[in-house]
């Protein structure tokens, strides 16, 4: 397969003795949107965190942009600049203003000039409709606004690849749409490669090219999205879809 950006082979993960991921194999092509679906506790979040080096894994390999990752802290620190990650709880830095949150990575990690970083940060804020909040502190913002800024903060580093870990799970229902629209726009306009963990089935259906369905730490099926939502290959996935009631 040409143009694969990420390849995961035989990944195994344990928490002490507890086996949480079993022989995970999949790859993601450039521009592809993959959603990870599965019941709570199936290992979706653990898997996506392994892809960013936030969780160590015990066996297997991750290959990112044709380079097999040597999982040292130093290496991951380099790779993380190319992988943007957004979390469920937004986690903006409360001690910094919105614009400083966004500029921290570009100026300190990538050593861009403050002027260039600021100009780009403003542009990104305009894109998500929050340019008026550049000098506000995170505590003055709503959950949906914080999450949009967390996405901007990740984008400011020009990642090749984005990971979204249940980014709407702690938002009020009316805030969810705004955040999802940004992710959708990234997929459509920027052709961004991404892995999205979500419980929003409608959204998954709209955005995904392919679905990985996980249960108990195993990938039960990998199916093109249309096919998955019409008729999944496994009964377990069908049960899961029925229970989601969307």
């Amino acid at each position: 397969m040409a143009d694969q950006i990420l390849q995961v082979e035989h990944l195994e993960k344990y928490y002490q003795k507890r086996h949480v991921l079993y022989d995970i194999n999949f790859s993601v092509a450039k521009g592809e949107v993959v959603t990870l679906l599965g019941p709570s506790g199936s290992g979706k979040s653990t898997l996506i965190r392994c892809l960013n080096g936030l969780e160590p894994y015990q066996k297997g390999t991750i290959t990112f942009e044709d380079q097999q990752v040597d999982p040292t802290e130093k290496n991951w620190q380099q790779i993380r600049q190319k992988i943007g990650m957004v979390f469920q709880s937004y986690d903006l830095f409360p001690n910094l203003t919105v614009i400083d949150n966004i500029m921290l990575g570009p100026t300190k990690v990538q050593k861009q000039s403050a002027d260039a970083a600021r100009a780009e940060a403003i542009q990104l804020l305009q894109r998500v409709g929050l340019e008026d909040y550049a000098d506000a502190y995170p505590r003055m913002l709503s959950g949906g606004q914080k999450q949009r800024i967390a996405i901007v903060r990740a984008l400011a580093l020009h990642p090749d690849f984005m990971l979204f870990d249940e980014v709407t799970a702690s938002l009020d229902p009316e805030m969810v749409r705004g955040v999802l629209n940004i992710i959708k726009d990234l997929a459509e306009t920027d052709n961004m490669t991404m892995i999205v963990v979500t419980h929003e089935m409608n959204f998954a259906q709209e955005i995904a090219d392919r679905v990985l369905f996980l249960e108990n730490g195993k990938i039960l099926e990998q199916t093109p999205s249309k096919q998955f939502f019409a008729k999944p290959q496994t009964d377990r996935a069908q049960e899961f879809l029925d229970s989601m009631d969307f």
Binding site: E73, W76, Q81, D91, F93, N95, L104, R153
Partner: protein, 229 residues
Amino acid sequence: MDHSGISVLFEGTNFTRLLGGLWVTVKIAGVALILGLILGIVLGVLRTFKNRLLRLILRLYLEFFRIVPTVVLLFLFYYILPKQLNFNLPADQIATLVFALWVGAEMSDIVRGALISVPKHQRESGLAIGLNRYQLYRYVLIPQAITLEIPATINLATRVIKTTSLLMLISVMDVINIGQQIIEANNHTHPTGVFWVYGLIFLFYFLIDYPLSWWAKRLEKRRLERTNG
């Protein structure tokens, strides 16, 4: 009112001598606090690292300075170390050193406590934007820890200032020692002088420490208001 005793404060140069003693006290406490704060931040950060041996050593350091009474520490550094190690410093510098090491120990615990109470997600989202360990501490963890630790730090400062009253035991010319000299020298002419001299010293300490503790309380109240609202 000739012999009310208050006049002892203003005989000759008594009052300026007391102020001079107060200055010695404040200088020792101030320098010790500044050096101790720097040391404490460094040690506190090191104590959040994973290296077990390092953590054990720093823990022992903390416990030593916390458990051994300050008087004993002062004597140890003033009488014993110079003999054993041939390490001679004037009394006020010994005092500054002991206090700085003590503040460093206490401060390392305050800093460590504040650092580990910064939510884990903050560390992760810092890592996710590619910060290295130094940058993570410098821009994300330490600034958030500081707001948590300021009230405890100010309280530590008031304790340090109070404890300088032990310095007379190693013959530092601090405000208490000078007060004692004035009392003894004027005992015949001003029998109640002791009351006035110590009264004034009490006032000095109060004027320095009370604003600090008021400030700590206010900062803590503001922080709580901010986090809850």
